[in-house]
Symmetry: C2
Subunit: 73 residues, 2 copies
Protein backbone atom coordinates (compact mmCIF):
# COMPACT_ATOMS: atom_id res chain seq x y z
CA UNK A 1 0.00 0.00 0.00
CA UNK A 2 2.65 2.47 1.02
CA UNK A 3 5.21 1.34 -1.52
CA UNK A 4 2.56 1.38 -4.21
CA UNK A 5 1.84 5.04 -3.60
CA UNK A 6 5.52 5.75 -3.26
CA UNK A 7 6.10 4.18 -6.65
CA UNK A 8 3.38 6.22 -8.30
CA UNK A 9 4.77 9.35 -6.73
CA UNK A 10 8.26 8.59 -7.99
CA UNK A 11 6.99 7.84 -11.49
CA UNK A 12 5.10 11.13 -11.53
CA UNK A 13 8.12 13.10 -10.38
CA UNK A 14 10.31 11.38 -12.92
CA UNK A 15 8.00 12.26 -15.77
CA UNK A 16 7.75 15.80 -14.53
CA UNK A 17 11.51 15.97 -14.88
CA UNK A 18 11.21 14.61 -18.40
CA UNK A 19 13.35 11.62 -17.52
CA UNK A 20 13.12 8.09 -18.81
CA UNK A 21 13.50 5.14 -16.44
CA UNK A 22 16.90 4.46 -17.93
CA UNK A 23 18.03 8.05 -17.48
CA UNK A 24 16.86 8.07 -13.88
CA UNK A 25 18.65 4.81 -13.21
CA UNK A 26 21.84 6.29 -14.56
CA UNK A 27 21.60 9.37 -12.36
CA UNK A 28 20.85 7.34 -9.26
CA UNK A 29 23.34 4.67 -10.14
CA UNK A 30 21.08 1.67 -10.05
CA UNK A 31 19.58 -0.72 -12.56
CA UNK A 32 16.68 0.12 -14.84
CA UNK A 33 14.84 -2.96 -13.67
CA UNK A 34 14.92 -1.72 -10.13
CA UNK A 35 13.35 1.55 -11.14
CA UNK A 36 10.59 -0.43 -12.77
CA UNK A 37 10.10 -2.56 -9.66
CA UNK A 38 9.94 0.49 -7.46
CA UNK A 39 7.50 2.41 -9.63
CA UNK A 40 5.17 -0.55 -9.81
CA UNK A 41 5.31 -0.95 -6.04
CA UNK A 42 6.82 -4.41 -6.14
CA UNK A 43 9.85 -3.25 -4.23
CA UNK A 44 10.58 -0.18 -2.17
CA UNK A 45 13.99 1.45 -2.00
CA UNK A 46 15.84 1.26 1.28
CA UNK A 47 15.97 4.37 3.43
CA UNK A 48 19.48 5.03 2.14
CA UNK A 49 18.18 4.59 -1.37
CA UNK A 50 15.43 7.13 -0.79
CA UNK A 51 18.04 9.84 -0.58
CA UNK A 52 19.30 8.92 -4.03
CA UNK A 53 15.81 9.07 -5.50
CA UNK A 54 15.10 12.40 -3.82
CA UNK A 55 18.34 13.92 -5.09
CA UNK A 56 17.82 12.67 -8.62
CA UNK A 57 14.28 13.99 -8.65
CA UNK A 58 15.35 17.27 -7.09
CA UNK A 59 13.03 17.07 -4.11
CA UNK A 60 13.35 16.48 -0.39
CA UNK A 61 12.89 12.96 0.92
CA UNK A 62 9.68 13.94 2.64
CA UNK A 63 8.24 15.04 -0.67
CA UNK A 64 8.45 11.45 -1.83
CA UNK A 65 5.84 10.66 0.80
CA UNK A 66 3.61 13.59 -0.01
CA UNK A 67 0.77 12.09 -1.94
CA UNK A 68 -2.15 13.05 -4.11
CA UNK A 69 -4.46 15.69 -2.78
CA UNK A 70 -2.96 15.81 0.67
CA UNK A 71 -2.00 19.33 1.44
CA UNK A 72 1.49 19.70 2.86
CA UNK A 73 1.67 21.63 6.08
Amino acid sequence: MLQKKLGQRIAALRKKQGLTQEALAEVIGCSVEFISLVERGVNAPSVAGLQGFADALKVEVRDLFTFDGRKPR
Copy 2:
Protein backbone atom coordinates in the same frame (compact mmCIF):
# COMPACT_ATOMS: atom_id res chain seq x y z
CA MET B 1 23.27 10.38 7.71
CA LEU B 2 19.63 10.09 6.78
CA GLN B 3 18.88 7.27 9.16
CA LYS B 4 20.63 9.14 11.94
CA LYS B 5 18.29 12.09 11.56
CA LEU B 6 15.36 9.76 11.14
CA GLY B 7 16.25 8.11 14.41
CA GLN B 8 16.49 11.40 16.26
CA ARG B 9 13.18 12.45 14.81
CA ILE B 10 11.53 9.23 15.93
CA ALA B 11 12.99 9.52 19.41
CA ALA B 12 11.72 13.08 19.69
CA LEU B 13 8.24 12.13 18.55
CA ARG B 14 8.16 9.20 20.93
CA LYS B 15 9.06 11.36 23.90
CA LYS B 16 6.49 13.91 22.84
CA GLN B 17 3.93 11.13 23.11
CA GLY B 18 5.25 10.27 26.54
CA LEU B 19 6.11 6.77 25.43
CA THR B 20 8.99 4.58 26.52
CA GLN B 21 10.92 2.52 24.00
CA GLU B 22 9.27 -0.59 25.34
CA ALA B 23 5.81 0.90 25.06
CA LEU B 24 6.47 1.99 21.51
CA ALA B 25 7.78 -1.45 20.61
CA GLU B 26 4.61 -3.00 21.94
CA VAL B 27 2.38 -0.67 19.92
CA ILE B 28 4.34 -1.23 16.74
CA GLY B 29 4.77 -4.92 17.38
CA CYS B 30 8.53 -5.14 17.22
CA SER B 31 11.36 -5.70 19.66
CA VAL B 32 12.65 -3.08 22.06
CA GLU B 33 16.18 -3.60 20.81
CA PHE B 34 15.12 -2.67 17.33
CA ILE B 35 13.64 0.60 18.54
CA SER B 36 16.98 1.35 20.15
CA LEU B 37 18.87 0.54 16.97
CA VAL B 38 16.60 2.74 14.91
CA GLU B 39 16.73 5.71 17.24
CA ARG B 40 20.51 5.59 17.33
CA GLY B 41 20.67 5.44 13.57
CA VAL B 42 22.34 2.05 13.49
CA ASN B 43 19.46 0.60 11.53
CA ALA B 44 16.67 2.13 9.55
CA PRO B 45 13.22 0.62 9.37
CA SER B 46 12.06 -0.72 6.03
CA VAL B 47 9.55 1.33 4.08
CA ALA B 48 6.84 -1.04 5.25
CA GLY B 49 8.06 -0.52 8.79
CA LEU B 50 7.85 3.24 8.44
CA GLN B 51 4.08 3.01 8.30
CA GLY B 52 4.05 1.27 11.66
CA PHE B 53 6.22 3.93 13.22
CA ALA B 54 4.11 6.72 11.76
CA ASP B 55 0.89 5.16 13.00
CA ALA B 56 2.25 4.55 16.48
CA LEU B 57 3.53 8.09 16.70
CA LYS B 58 0.30 9.47 15.29
CA VAL B 59 1.89 11.30 12.39
CA GLU B 60 2.04 10.91 8.64
CA VAL B 61 5.00 9.07 7.13
CA ARG B 62 6.28 12.25 5.57
CA ASP B 63 6.47 13.86 9.00
CA LEU B 64 9.10 11.32 9.94
CA PHE B 65 11.32 12.95 7.33
CA THR B 66 10.56 16.49 8.37
CA PHE B 67 13.59 17.57 10.30
CA ASP B 68 14.84 20.30 12.57
CA GLY B 69 14.43 23.86 11.41
CA ARG B 70 13.36 22.97 7.91
CA LYS B 71 10.15 24.76 7.17
CA PRO B 72 7.48 22.53 5.79
CA ARG B 73 5.81 23.88 2.70
